[in-house]
C-alpha cells in the first residue's frame, strides 16, 4: 500500500536566542554582534529522528504527553515549518485543522470571512461559492452569517472555522486537538465527518489527548515521547504502552511529593482538629511511625492503583518504651480535602494491650472502591484519650486510575438491571 504521509528520520531543532533578549538592531550594530547574536546559543530538540508512514486512506492518531513533539510533527506534515534534518513527504492536498478560524477578520461578516478563509486554504472563489451553503449549514450559522465575526461567540467562531476547513475537501486532513468545539451535537457531527472522510478513502492524521477517540477512530496510533517515537501500530496496544508509561511517571511524581512532604513536615505541629487540611507531622514521638508504604495487588510498594485493586497501608512503628496505651488510625482524603474514609483501632473496639520495640501494622483494603483521582493519606498513632504520639497529616499521596470516568468519591459495587423492553446496543 502506498503511503500518503511519510516522515523519514525527521529531526526538528528549535533554537532559542537567549542572548538576544536586549539585542536590538541598534545595539547589534553598535556592538557589531549581529552575526554572533544570530547564532543560536540554545537548541531544543523537539523531534529526534522520527520516522513513520501513514498509509493512504487510513486514520492515524498521534498520542503523547504535553511537549512530546506531537504538534511539531503535525506542523511539519502541514509544511508550516521545515524539518532540521530528514524528509517529510505528503501526497495530495492537505487541510490542517490546527487553529480554527486563524485568519478570520473580526470586523467583516461571516460570509466574507468564509470566502477569504476558503481562498486562503486553497480553494478558488467558485469552489467556495459552490460549497457556501454546505459550510453555513454545517456550522449552523445561517442566521448570523452576515453579522461581523467579532460578534460571534467563541463556539460560533470555531464552528465556522471548522466548517470551512473541512469543506476544503483535502486528500489529507490534519487535526490538532480541535474536537473540543461546540456542544455534544456538533462534536458528533465532526466525528461523523471524519468517518465520512475515512469511507471516501481520505487520509486523516489526528493529534489528541483523547485516547478514547484514538481507539474508536484510528486504524493505527503513533506514540511520541520527548520527541522520540516510542511505539507505532495497533491503537489498543500503543495506548496500553502509553498508559503504562504515564503510570510510571505518576508513580515517580507521587513518590517525590511524598518524600518532600515527609521531609518538610513540621516536627511538632498543632494538635488540632482531625479535619484541618494542612499537612504536617506532630506528636510526642513516644511511639513513632518510622515507615509508611502503600502496597498494591502485586505485593510491591506503589503510588498508583486502579479502582478495585486490593491495597494495603503498611506502617512501620517503634515504641521507645513498652506501652499499653495506643490507637492506630488511618484516613483517606481526596484532592478537595474531603475525608473519604477514616477509622482507627479505638473506633473499631480494639483495646490496646502491649506494644514494644519495632512492629508492623497493616491496614488492608480488599477493594479500593474510589473513583479516579489523587488522594492523600493520614496515618497516626495516639493515646486512647487522643493525645498524639505521632501524627502524619496528609503526607502521603497516591493516585487511583479508572477506565470509567464516574464521578464522586466512592464507587460502590453496583450493577444495572432492566426490564426486557429497555435495550442497549
Amino acid at each position: 500500500m502506498t503511503s500518503a504521509i511519510e516522515l523519514v528520520n525527521v529531526s526538528k531543532i528549535y533554537r532559542r536566542y537567549t542572548g538576544r533578549q536586549f539585542a536590538t538592531l541598534k545595539s547589534a550594530l553598535l556592538k557589531r554582534s549581529i552575526l554572533r547574536d544570530l547564532q543560536p546559543n540554545e537548541a531544543f530538540l523537539a523531534l529526534k529522528d522520527v520516522s513513520f508512514a501513514v498509509a493512504k486512506g487510513s486514520t492515524v492518531g498521534v498520542i503523547g504527553r504535553n511537549g512530546s513533539g506531537k504538534s511539531t510533527a503535525l506542523k511539519l506534515v502541514a509544511g508550516i515549518t521545515k524539518p532540521t534534518s530528514g524528509t517529510v513527504r505528503v501526497d495530495g492536498r492537505i487541510s490542517a485543522l490546527i487553529e480554527l478560524g486563524a485568519g478570520f477578520h473580526p470586523e467583516i461578516s461571516g460570509r466574507e470571512n468564509v470566502f477569504i478563509n476558503g481562498i486562503m486554504l486553497g480553494l478558488s472563489k467558485r469552489d467556495v461559492e459552490e460549497r457556501f451553503d454546505a459550510i453555513v449549514d454545517f456550522a449552523e450559522l445561517r442566521e448570523f452569517i452576515d453579522a461581523p465575526v467579532k460578534t460571534y461567540s467563541s463556539g460560533m467562531y470555531m464552528r465556522l472555522g471548522f466548517a470551512v476547513a473541512i469543506h476544503v475537501d483535502p486528500d489529507v486532513l490534519l487535526v490538532d486537538e480541535v474536537l473540543a468545539v461546540g456542544d455534544e451535537g456538533f462534536t458528533h457531527k465532526c466525528l461523523d465527518k471524519f468517518g465520512e472522510f475515512h469511507r471516501r478513502g481520505k487520509t486523516v492524521l489526528i493529534v489528541t489527548h483523547s485516547l478514547g477517540l484514538v481507539e474508536r477512530l484510528c486504524d493505527e496510533a503513533v506514540w511520541l515521547d520527548a520527541g522520540e517515537k516510542q511505539a507505532e501500530g495497533d491503537p489498543k496496544r500503543v495506548i496500553g504502552a502509553y498508559l503504562t508509561a504515564v503510570e510510571q511517571t505518576e508513580k515517580q511524581q507521587m513518590a517525590a511529593a511524598t518524600a518532600k512532604a515527609v521531609q518538610s513536615a513540621a516536627p511538632a505541629g498543632p494538635a488540632g482538629d482531625m479535619f484541618q487540611a494542612t499537612e504536617g507531622r506532630w506528636g510526642s514521638r513516644e511511639v513513632e511511625i518510622t515507615n509508611v508504604e502503600l502496597v498494591g495487588p502485586d505485593a510491591t510498594p506503589s503510588f498508583v492503583f486502579h479502582t478495585g485493586d486490593a491495597v494495603s497501608i503498611r506502617l512501620g512503628v517503634r515504641a521507645a518504651q513498652p506501652t499499653s496505651d495506643f490507637v492506630f488510625g488511618v484516613g483517606v482524603f481526596n484532592a478537595d480535602g474531603v475525608c473519604c474514609f477514616g477509622t482507627n483501632t479505638g473506633i473499631e473496639d480494639m483495646t490496646s494491650d502491649r506494644l514494644d520495640g519495632d512492629a508492623t501494622v497493616t491496614f488492608s483494603i480488599d477493594s479500593l472502591d474510589l473513583v479516579e483521582g489523587t488522594y492523600k493519606l493520614d496515618v497516626a498513632v495516639h493515646r486512647r484519650d487522643g493525645a498524639p504520639y505521632d501524627y502524619h497529616r496528609l503526607l502521603y499521596s497516591f493516585r487511583v486510575k479508572s477506565r470509567t470516568h464516574d464521578i464522586g468519591v466512592f464507587r460502590p459495587k453496583h450493577r444495572w438491571t432492566f426490564s426486557p423492553n429497555v435495550r442497549f446496543k
Binding site: Y14, R15, T24, L25, K26, A28, L38, K75, A78, G79, I80, T81, K82, I94, A96, I98, E99, A102, G103, H105, E107, I108, E112, F115, I116, I119, M120, L121, S124, K125, P148
Partner: protein, 263 residues
C-alpha cells in the same frame, strides 16, 4: 526563488480578496466609511497648503497653484510611506496565519502595498477635482508616462516592503526606526518645496541619490509642469527598482523558514 516568484501569480486571487478585505475592514464601523479615503488626504493637503501659502509665503510663480503642486508629490509619498509602515508590521500582525496555516507569507506585505495603492488611485480623483477647480491641467503629451512611474514605484515599494517586513520579524525595532527615517526622508524629498529651488541646486548631487527624488520630480513634471524631461533618470530608477525588488524578495525567501518560529 524563481519558482516561488512564479507561485506569486497563483496567489493573485488570494491577494485580491485580502486587499478587498483590508479596504472594507478599515472603515467598517465608522460613520463616514469609505469617504475617509478622500477626507484624509484632503485634510492633510489643506494643512500643508495653509502653512506653505499663508504662513510661510511661497512666492515662486511656477508653483502656483501651490495646493495642486504639492498634491502631486504628496499623494505618491503617502502611498509609499503608509505601505512601508504597514508592511513592516504585517508579518507580526499576521502571526496567526504564518504559525497555524500553510500560508504564503509574502502575500501579507504585498497586500499592505496594494491596499495603499488603491487609496493612492482614489486620491487621484481628488487631484483631478483640484486641477479642474484651479484650472491647471497637466500636459497631455506627458501623461502616458504616468502609469510608467506608478508601476516603477510599485516595484520599488514592494521590494522594500518585502525586505523590511522579513527583517522586522527578527528586529522589531525596524518599525520605530522606520517611522523616523520616513519623516527625514519626506523632508529630504522635494514634495513641499520645488526641486528647482536654488538651495536644492546646491546639494543636487546628494538629492539625486534619493530614489524618491526621482519619483517626486517625475510626478510633478508629468502632472504639474509642462514638460517631462526626467525620462532617462526614471528608466534608470526602473532598473534600480527591479534590483531592489529582487533583493527584497531574495531576503524574504531566505528568511521565510524562520517566520513560523520567530513571529
Amino acid at each position: 526563488m524563481l519558482s516561488n516568484l512564479g507561485s506569486l501569480l497563483r496567489y493573485r486571487g488570494l491577494i485580491q480578496s485580502l486587499v478587498a478585505r483590508e479596504l472594507k475592514a478599515r472603515y467598517r464601523g465608522s460613520v463616514l466609511g469609505f469617504v475617509w479615503s478622500f477626507i484624509n488626504p484632503l485634510l492633510l493637503l489643506s494643512i500643508y497648503s495653509f502653512v506653505f501659502t499663508t504662513i510661510m509665503q511661497n512666492n515662486d510663480p511656477r508653483t502656483k497653484p501651490f495646493a495642486v503642486f504639492m498634491f502631486c508629490g504628496l499623494l505618491p509619498w503617502t502611498w509609499f510611506s503608509a505601505s512601508l509602515s504597514e508592511a513592516t508590521s504585517s508579518l507580526i500582525n499576521g502571526g496567526n496565519l504564518i504559525k497555524k496555516v500553510l500560508f504564503p507569507a509574502e502575500v501579507l506585505p504585498i497586500v499592505s502595498v496594494l491596499a495603499n495603492m488603491v487609496h493612492f488611485l482614489l486620491g487621484l480623483l481628488i487631484l483631478a477635482a483640484f486641477m479642474i477647480g484651479f484650472r491647471h491641467y497637466p500636459n497631455v503629451a506627458a501623461l502616458p508616462w504616468f502609469p510608467v512611474v506608478v508601476v516603477i514605484q510599485l516595484i520599488f515599494t514592494l521590494g522594500l516592503a518585502l525586505g523590511l517586513s522579513a527583517l522586522t520579524v527578527h528586529f522589531r525595532d525596524i518599525r520605530d526606526l522606520l517611522t523616523n527615517v520616513l519623516t527625514l526622508w519626506f523632508f529630504a524629498t522635494p514634495i513641499i518645496y520645488p526641486y528647482f529651488m536654488p538651495s536644492v541646486g546646491r546639494f543636487l548631487a546628494v538629492f539625486r541619490l534619493n530614489p524618491f527624488y526621482h519619483f517626486a520630480v517625475s510626478y510633478q513634471e508629468i502632472l504639474f509642469f509642462d514638460h517631462f524631461g526626467h525620462a532617462r533618470s526614471l528608466l534608470l530608477l526602473g532598473a534600480l527598482s527591479v534590483a531592489v525588488f529582487l533583493a527584497g524578495y531574495w531576503l524574504f525567501d531566505r528568511l521565510r523558514d524562520s517566520f513560523a518560529e520567530a513571529v
